[in-house]
């Protein structure tokens, strides 16, 4: 399923956060969206997932979602958004319960996604017993359970420490290798963008506009930490963003 952003402009009150953003998100690849803080990256993602309505322009979906897809546009949130009163298993069945899925099939789906995210031993654990990385794995498993057409990842690794982030990045690459998914990955971390993105869209500071879209044609599996091609790309991205990041940093928040 393809997504298209068509001349999106969005405001919060008098403040324009996104201005005339047009972007095509074809199926099968991961698009990373990077930009200085407050540039409307997360807003863009919420617009894509239908959690917010654009003031102007529209978000279009074309093509049919895959077979057995319960929720075409599925989020993975920065703060995991797990229900603390449900176990790992319960958090995953939560998103299956409204779809009239039989108990046996639901159990099979849960077992499958837990196995894919290496969580099978933690089925009955409560979120408070899990580390941050584990919690995000549960959230990813929950997202996979509905067999989404597009995964919308909103800074999924930003709440984690650097080592956990590396591990989860490898896991995401693994998941993509085994079953290529369409992903929109919002991050402020350029290293994550060059590791995971097939394309990288750079947003300008507020009001956010698309400045440039980079194509990265190194296969995900071949991208290693310290790869000179990735480092070159990362520094290229950083020079593009540096001045704006500095300006964004010095901006008053409530103007």
């Amino acid at each position: 399923m393809d997504l298209t952003l068509d001349n999106i402009t969005h405001r919060y009150g008098d403040m324009t956060v996104l201005e005339d953003v047009s972007l095509r998100i074809p199926a099968g690849g991961i698009l990373c969206i990077v930009g200085p803080s407050g540039c409307g990256k997360s807003t863009l993602l919420r617009l894509l997932g239908g959690l917010e309505q654009p003031d102007q322009g529209q978000v279009l979906q074309s093509g049919t979602p895959p077979e057995g897809c319960l929720n075409p546009l599925t989020f993975v949130f920065q703060d995991f958004a797990l229900l603390p009163w449900r176990t790992v298993e319960g958090n995953i069945t939560l998103v299956l319960e409204d779809h009239g899925i039989g108990r046996a099939r639901a159990a099979a789906i849960v077992d499958d996604v837990l196995a894919r995210t290496k969580l099978s031993d933690f089925k009955r654990a409560l979120p408070r017993q899990l580390s941050g990385g584990m919690k995000q794995r549960v959230a990813i498993a929950r997202a996979l359970a509905v067999n989404p057409a597009v995964l919308l990842l909103d800074e999924p690794l930003s709440a984690l420490d650097a080592q956990t982030r590396e591990l989860l990045m490898d896991d995401l690459i693994d998941l993509w290798q085994r079953a290529a998914f369409t992903g929109v990955y919002v991050t402020h971390n350029l290293a994550e963008a060059v590791r995971l993105g097939h394309r990288i869209a750079v947003l300008s500071r507020r009001p956010g506009r698309i400045r440039e879209v980079f194509e990265v044609d190194i296969p995900l599996a071949e991208r290693r930490i310290g790869d000179p091609r990735l480092e070159a790309l990362q520094s290229q991205l950083w020079t593009l963003m540096k001045d704006e990041a500095m300006a964004a940093d010095q901006e008053l928040l409530d103007v």
């Binding site: 959690l51 949130f77 958004a81 408070r128």
Partner: protein
């Protein structure tokens, strides 16, 4: 300085009260012993405070005469029926206020107006509306427990993490599922701690409710003793109410430990 290396002085710690078993009981026992000693030694006159041992004797006597249950049973019924009515409608209204803008706009001022009214003042009115029998007593306790329950419930619903609600929406959960599986469990801690307050208020109002048209009941027993200045019986009744308060608070603690095991 003679010794160049000294241990760094410890200045952390404190500000973290932890459970200490038996201290609560100890405080009770010490207070009772002081009162016993004072009344026996004479530096507390028996008009000021009854002797604890006499109060205990009165309680034993009350128990042996069989009148204990005669008084407690109607009081408990009034408390249970009244607060069940008040708390259940309070939770329902509180959840509605938490969920719907119009209900919120319409009812919050009303609840704010009802809350500070001393419900005891309305007792004569309730007698006219609901009759001098049990009706007026249920109504008084129900209204008294209703307002604090509403306030704590909508506060609890407001405090449910909105990112969890957004998550529910992003997975296409039905509205009823979001309320039942995300909003209500999320509000439960706040609702339960509100219930502690509500039930305590219910016990306070029990005495008020038994001011008019009650022959039996702990409240009636206390009021009767008070008008005769029979301090032993008055305190015996008060002890029963206190015990009731401790018991309900303990019961809610038990429910909390069962239902809120997911909290750290």
């Amino acid at each position: 300085m003679s010794d160049p290396s000294q241990p760094v002085p410890y200045r952390g710690g404190g500000f973290r009260p932890s459970a200490r078993r038996g201290i609560g009981v100890l405080v009770f026992v010490i207070l009772l012993l002081v009162a016993e000693w004072g009344t026996r030694a004479g530096w507390i006159s028996n008009l000021t405070l009854p002797r604890p041992s006499d109060v205990a004797a009165t309680l034993v006597e009350l128990w042996q005469s069989g009148l204990f249950w005669t008084h407690l049973a109607p009081s408990l019924t009034r408390l249970v029926v009244g607060s069940a009515l008040g708390i259940s409608t309070g939770i329902a209204v509180g959840v509605m206020i938490g969920l719907f803008s119009y209900v919120r706009a319409g009812l919050i001022p009303l609840v704010a107006a009802l809350f500070p009214i001393p419900k005891i003042a309305l007792l004569p009115l309730f007698v006219i509306w609901f009759g001098i029998d049990e009706g007026s007593k249920y109504a008084l306790i129900a209204l008294g427990t209703f307002t604090p329950t509403v306030v704590s419930t909508y506060g609890a619903v407001d405090n449910v993490d909105r990112t969890l609600v957004r998550m529910g929406q992003s997975f296409g959960l039905r509205w009823t599922s979001i309320v039942r599986k995300i909003v209500l469990p999320g509000a439960l801690p706040g609702i339960l701690s509100g219930m502690r307050v509500s039930i305590a208020i219910g016990i306070i109002l029990l005495v008020a409710a038994e001011m008019l048209g009650a022959e039996y009941g702990i409240g009636a027993y206390i009021l009767q003793a008070g008008s005769l200045y029979d301090l032993e019986r008055l305190f015996a009744g008060v002890v029963v109410l206190s015990a009731l308060g401790v018991l309900t608070s303990w019961a809610i603690g038990l429910i909390e430990r069962r239902l809120l095991r997911w909290r750290s």
